[in-house]
């Protein structure tokens, strides 16, 4: 066996006890949907894992009604400490079934078991554990003495971190006292179904969490439903825009966590070993299917060649293949459609004049794969420097001065994340002030924690998930009284400025 060759060490899928068919999870029970069923496949083998029900608008109606009932009769009347106890139970059940969840996620999504086992699933448990403790402490959340839940939350999540995104959405919503109807992404519904089993084991009251599976049309029926009070979406900026239009003029509260094109800025005094690992983790973690991925490497000109050489060397040691193999670094691309998008944008990069380098990986015969790729000689005008590729493709640009780095980093309509690599703390902090991004990682990248707010500036969306700020997305602030001397300012007559009645959602959609 040659250097860097490894014996396969696959995690056994026998821990799974999957059903052949999964229905919708509504009012505490698995029920059949009224739409067609569709298959969920393993993107690594293209084999069918199970068939999934497609929720129709009518099914969504039933789910929302169940959530409303649960909100009115049970969840809004329950004490915060009891809500918290349910969340603690869920956190523990996730921990207990963590291996099973990790295997199912890798199977369904295509991401390496090393990531689902060490990142996704532990964070899911951590998210529930963190927000569980908030449930009976809402008056300390900084939103006034008596913050109120919003009601029924409609949540639509992406396929890149299926179970983790579900946790980011459900945990704060429930802690704040809302009930939930959530729609997983079409290609990754499996772990949401296992999560539904966990909710049954936790004995969570029926209707508090409802799961409707299906394509974009199911999500649209959910976010435009008249009886939801809150819409939370994670996904592409284009769909985010559409949802912002659909929600316009309604009383629904909206948070959006959308695309990104993060700059990862490497100075010549960076801790180079860590920086190389950080760049790799920044763009090749989860096959680059990360909205905050460090997809634009801005490297100081004098160390460009050194950084690129070392990056190529490092990428040549990454192992691509079976997601269930514990050796695997790079798994499968989640779907044929996504693979096509990555290919198209990469080809555009080449035709626009950037220089392409691809790691020499053996591509498995079946499934959807894209080898780690670096583009050098990229200019700011290239499509691969502007558009979110959402794949294992790194675009490299250079800079000479910190001012140039800032200008280039901010030269994007997105503003989700950024990275800085330098040993000079004062420069790092000065740069942090200038970067228009919601999360800045200094001498690290792609770190997530339930205590740490996450979310974007500009067209990367609005609202934060995680921490105290993430809780605020699911609460109505009671606010504090204005100082007595200014109270007249709050008691002005409301005559002339009363709002015209808001339009119905459906009309707004037509725009």
């Amino acid at each position: 066996m040659a250097f860097l060759e490894y014996a396969a060490a696959p995690e056994s899928a026998s821990i799974l006890n999957l059903k052949a068919q999964y229905g919708l999870f509504i009012d505490g029970e698995f029920v059949d949907g009224h739409g067609d069923v569709f298959d969920t496949i393993s993107p690594a083998t293209e084999e069918v894992i199970a068939s999934i029900a497609q929720a129709t608008a009518g099914d969504v109606d039933v789910a929302v009604a169940a959530a409303r009932r649960a909100y009115d009769r049970v969840w809004s009347r329950m004490s915060g400490s009891d809500r918290g106890k349910y969340l603690f139970r869920i956190a523990r059940l996730v921990q207990e079934r963590s291996r099973e969840l990790a295997v199912a996620e890798s199977l369904d999504n295509g991401k390496p078991i090393r990531e689902t086992r060490d990142v996704d699933v532990p964070l899911v448990a951590a998210w529930f554990f963190y927000y569980a403790g908030w449930a009976d402490k809402l008056e300390h959340a900084g939103l006034g003495p008596n913050p109120r839940a919003l009601g029924v939350a409609a949540q639509v999540i992406p396929w890149n971190f299926p179970l983790l995104m579900l946790a980011w959405k459900i945990a704060p919503a429930l802690a704040a006292g809302n009930t939930v109807v959530i729609k997983p992404a079409e290609t990754t519904s499996l772990t949401a179904m296992l999560f539904a089993e966990i909710l049954q084991q936790a004995d969570l009251p029926a209707g508090v969490v409802n799961i409707v599976t299906g394509p974009g049309s199911t999500g649209q029926a959910l976010v435009t439903h008249d009886d939801v009070n809150k819409v939370a979406f994670t996904g592409s900026t284009n769909v985010g825009r559409m949802i912002a239009r659909q929600v316009a003029g309604t009383q629904k509260r909206l948070t959006l966590e959308l695309g990104g094109k993060a700059a990862n800025i490497v100075f010549d005094d960076a801790p180079m070993d860590q920086a190389i690992e950080g760049i790799v983790n920044g763009i090749f973690f989860n096959q680059g299917h990360v909205c905050c991925a460090g997809s634009r490497l801005l490297v100081q000109e004098n160390v460009h060649d050194e950084v690129i050489d070392r990056l190529k060397q490092r990428l040549s040691t990454l192992r691509m293949g079976d997601p269930l193999d514990k050796n695997t670094d790079i798994g499968a691309i989640n779907s044929a459609a996504q693979l096509e998008r990555i290919r198209t944008l990469s080809d555009t990069g080449e035709s626009e004049g950037a220089e392409r380098w691809t790691a020499d990986c053996r591509i498995p015969d079946k499934g959807f794969w894209f080898a780690p790729t670096i583009f050098t000689k990229v200019s700011a005008a290239h499509a691969i420097a502007r558009e979110e590729i959402f794949g294992p493709v790194l675009s490299v640009l250079t800079f000479r001065t910190p001012a140039e780095a800032i200008t280039k980093a901010n030269n994007t309509p997105y503003g989700l994340s950024a990275g800085i690599w330098t040993e000079k703390g004062s420069r790092m902090l000065a740069l942090v002030d200038q970067l228009r991004a919601g999360v800045v990682w200094a001498n690290t990248f792609n770190r997530f924690d339930p205590a740490s707010p996450f979310g974007g500036y500009k067209e990367s969306g609005y609202g934060r998930e995680g921490g105290r700020h993430g809780l605020a997305a699911y609460l109505e602030a009671s606010g504090w009284d204005a100082p007595a001397a200014l109270s007249a300012a709050s008691s002005a007559p409301a005559s002339a400025s009363a709002s015209k009645p808001a339009r119905k959602t459906r009309k707004a959609v037509a725009k």
């Binding site: 951590a126 900084g142 900026t237 985010g240 825009r241 912002a244 239009r245 316009a248 003029g249 959308l258 860590q274 309509p413 790092m428 942090v432 002030d433 970067l435 991004a437 919601g438 999360v439 800045v440 990682w441 200094a442 001498n443 690290t444 770190r447 924690d449 205590a451 740490s452 707010p453 996450f454 500036y457 500009k458 067209e459 969306g461 609005y462 934060r464 921490g467 105290r468 700020h469 602030a477 606010g479 204005a482 100082p483 001397a485 200014l486 109270s487 007249a488 300012a489 709050s490 002005a492 007559p493 005559s495 002339a496 400025s497 009363a498 709002s499 015209k500 339009r503 707004a508 725009k511």
Partner: protein, 293 residues
């Protein structure tokens, strides 16, 4: 024998200067009893766009100023307003048709609202920010920052509100370091323009507060769709009724194209609140590795 008075020409306030509308248009401002008071500039699309350019140019300096400095600058607005209160009482009494006592009370409140918000400049980040206890060897801090350029509509036609409504909208926007393009009360804009004169002689850098007079229904669609505007404050937009029946919802729809932050209309005058400051900030979370010792 009475002296013949010298009336003031009321103009726009953009980038620290007082231009007329580039369109050359004006409209009549009349008293509550219908008597002619002044010709105000009727701002156009071009004026709005010029104002955004001025506001964007001012963001770096204003957001980059120390919070203590911004607090003092805003407090100084209150000082200058206090010194010129008679002029404001006069304009409010004539254009809103209220008593001198009521007009005085409104000016007092407007001054006090400036003072209240001035004090927030170097505190809101402590209240809205966070140290985050993450599970790992990282320093992790979340801090609020201004979102950038905000386009706003002051309360329209609210009795007792032509100055107070305007101040209650712009003060919380600028205190964190945002710059603002605001459309004043269409029917009673005189105190807004006089406030511009206060701003011009205070220490507020040109471009931080840009004042447009004219029709919100005409001007706001351009601002709502403008790609270099980060947020939309529709506080006074509830009564907007455009030529084709457009309402504030159309502004929100336009804002969705560039995912602007939008504050929905409020009836009357918004009460002073920290939430009005935090509505126009972004939370930035910074992680830094801690080394092994």
């Amino acid at each position: 024998m009475s002296r013949l008075t010298v009336p003031k020409t009321y103009k726009l306030y953009i980038g620290g200067k007082f231009p007329r509308s580039e369109s050359g248009r004006t409209y009549e401002v009349v008293a509550a009893d219908g008597a002619f008071l002044a010709n105000a500039a009727k701002a156009s699309r071009k004026d709005a766009r010029d104002a955004v350019v001025a506001a964007r140019a001012a963001v770096g300096g204003w957001a980059g100023a120390t919070a203590y400095n911004r607090g003092q600058v805003i407090y100084r607005i209150a000082e200058l307003l206090e010194g010129r209160r008679a002029q404001f009482v006069d304009e409010i009494a004539s254009s809103e048709g209220v008593s001198v006592a009521e007009a005085s009370a409104q000016v007092d409140l407007a001054i006090d609202v400036w003072v209240w918000y001035a004090g927030w400049a170097d505190k809101y980040a402590q209240v809205a920010g966070n140290a985050n206890p993450v599970s790992g060897p990282y320093f992790n801090l979340s801090v609020p920052e201004p979102t950038g350029v905000v386009a706003a509509v002051a309360p329209q036609g609210v009795a007792g509100g032509s100055l107070l409504g305007l101040v209650s909208v712009i003060a919380p926007i600028v205190v964190s370091g945002n710059t603002v393009v605001v459309v004043a009360d269409e029917r009673a804009p005189l105190s807004a323009i006089s406030l511009s004169e206060v701003l011009a002689t205070s220490d507020v850098p040109g471009g931080v507060i840009n004042m447009l007079t004219g029709s919100p229904a005409e001007i706001m669609p351009w601002l709502a769709a403008h790609a270099d505007v980060n947020a939309l404050d529709l506080t006074g937009a509830g009564s907007i009724d455009g030529a084709k029946g457009e309402t504030w919802v159309d502004l929100q729809l336009a804002a969705a194209e560039t995912l602007k932050r939008v504050v929905a209309p409020v009836a009357g005058i918004p009460r002073p609140a920290l939430e009005r400051i935090t509505a126009f900030v972004e939370t930035k979370t910074v992680w830094h590795t801690k080394s092994m010792l």
